[in-house]
Amino acid sequence: MTGSTETESAADGSSRLGRRLLAERLSGYWFGGAGYFAVALFALIVLTLLYQSLPLLAEYSVVQALTSSNWDPAHNEFGFLPAIVGTVYVTLLSMAMGTPIAILAAIYIAEYAEGRTKTIVSSFIDVLAAIPSVIFGLVALLVVVPFVGDYLAPAVGSDATGLGIFTVSLVMAIVVTPFMISLAVESLEALPDELRESSLGVGATKWETIRSVLLRAAGPGIFSAVLLGFGRVFGATIVPAMLIGGQTQLPESPLATGQTLPTLIVNDFGELMSLPLTQSALIFVGLLLVVVVWLFNFGAMVVRRRLRRRWQY
């Protein structure tokens, strides 16, 4: 039979089979294009940002820009250190507040809650994860800022107004916790029930089962949930911009005002159009954010793979 020539002559779209094969071929191009789109988009973003930050890098070395603490765009001084220190402060503080709560709450949802309670609590957390961050900022202006300014700061002998790094960290902890919870719950629930049954069967208490069996088996998943939360806080823009006070100086204490890398972009946006070097400096901040997030994702992948091998069950 002349099967191959039949297929070829049919592919021009004149017959029913031809139309099907034509659709098949065209869809192949379309879906292939969509697959490459993700890679192309990423490459385009990184290359554009890199190209636009070249003017800054021609004037200053990377090390110089990252370690200088003098930020004064009007006099062409671009030191990113205050913003970097602010970002590190905010990220570490909110992770320290958010992670334990997130893991405990995830344990509750995955291991303790049952039936209706479970549905209600987990849909509450879904809702919390979807609330726009600008609303958190607004509510924090009403609730957290007066609390920190009127009670917490005097209690530790500081005259802070309530806007500052600690406030931002607290609110960001609230923003990322539900996000980490839902990822951690997913990895706890993916564990087979035999793990729980055999651990309880050899006489472990529920807590011992959770601590030494379940948290270990779900460890890689929980670890990447924490790292993804980390990335979220790191790149958060609106909440810090509303609550941090926006002063580009090295923060003296956690209650002081400061600046993070994303708020640097927001606050100096007005000057962006006029001075090409400032524009380049702020685009460099964008590049910095992408690179750090990329390193984090890559690191998370490597560590996850290693942990999975060590903590396999």
Binding site: G32, A38, T48, L141, I174, K206, R211, G235, M242
Partner: protein, 288 residues
């Protein structure tokens, strides 16, 4: 004090309950404050949501914030459509026989990085493009920025939904002699509840994001005049209003956030209902 094993079990049980209760309490507090404060402003004068702003709106709260409501709809609506088409196509490519497994893995890695990229980076990227082509910030570039922001989110949800679709669907369609394209369509149909829920979640994320549109849509305080004219969205408006020195403008921020939170909660509800409704397409799903 040394705790015995059973006391420790009780202690950690209560700690876990306490943590969950704390998270739920915070969520109730945030939603309650927004609805109470915003609702009070909104109920006394519901017309502000559909009144165009006066010329000195940001200074003296003349008129309302209809421009931001319209801007949100005109920016996030088209962005969601574009993004959904791209996201579903990418997810089909990754989960079907169009690509090799190795290439899928690479693309997935890039998607994960895009997923974790801070929204402000997309804003800066689109702004750089705007400067490069010599255009001005406008509604159109707001759409572009939001679409880029939503794309990895929707792809992730769609990819998960397609992955959860049973293999038997694919095998059965191939067994009947279907082409890859026809198989892909049937798989999408089987995964429809998850895909629809994912697209609605992407819409909800897009409508709540301020950092991407802050620099790209133009932060306009007038009614959107055309696709290449400046516009604004609700989150950006709330951000600007919250920084105002005028108490009335700040009170409008609460009204605007009331509108926003009602929209977001409504969308989540819609996504749950739609997921349930489309579940009848899923093999082994509910037959309603």
């Amino acid at each position: 004090m040394v705790l015995d094993r059973y006391a420790r079990q009780r202690l950690f049980g209560w700690l876990a309950r306490g943590a969950a209760a704390l998270v739920v309490a915070v969520m109730v507090l945030v939603v309650a404050v927004t609805i109470y404060r915003g609702g009070r402003v909104f109920i006394t004068d519901p017309a502000i949501a559909v009144t165009p702003p006066g010329s000195r709106y940001m200074l003296e709260a003349e008129g309302g914030f209809f421009h931001a409501v319209l801007g949100s709809v005109f920016i996030v609506g088209p962005a969601t459509v574009v993004s959904a088409i791209l996201a579903v196509s990418t997810a089909i490519y990754l989960q079907s026989d169009y690509s090799s497994e190795r290439f899928s893995e690479t693309v997935n890695m890039f998607l994960n990085v895009l997923w974790g990229t801070p929204p402000i980076v997309y804003g800066v990227f689109v702004l750089t493009v705007i400067i490069a082509v010599g255009a001005q910030t406008s509604l159109f570039f707001g759409i572009v920025a939001i679409a880029i922001f939503q794309y990895p989110i929707m792809t992730r949800y769609t990819d998960e939904a397609l992955r959860a679709a049973p293999d038997t669907v694919r095998e059965a369609t191939y067994g009947l002699g279907a082409t890859r394209f026809e198989t892909a369509l049937i798989t999408v149909r089987a995964a429809l509840p998850g895909i629809v829920a994912g697209i609605v979640m992407g819409f909800a994320r897009g409508i709540g994001d301020a950092a991407t549109v802050l620099f790209t849509a133009g932060r306009s305080t007038n009614m959107p005049a055309g696709p290449f004219e400046p516009a604004t969205t609700l989150p950006v408006l709330i951000f600007d209003q919250a920084m105002s020195f005028n108490a009335e403008v700040r009170s409008h921020a609460y009204a605007a956030s009331f509108v926003l939170i009602v929209a977001v909660l409504g969308l989540i509800l819609a996504s749950k209902l739609l997921a349930g409704r489309y579940a009848r397409f899923a093999p082994g799903g509910r037959h309603s």
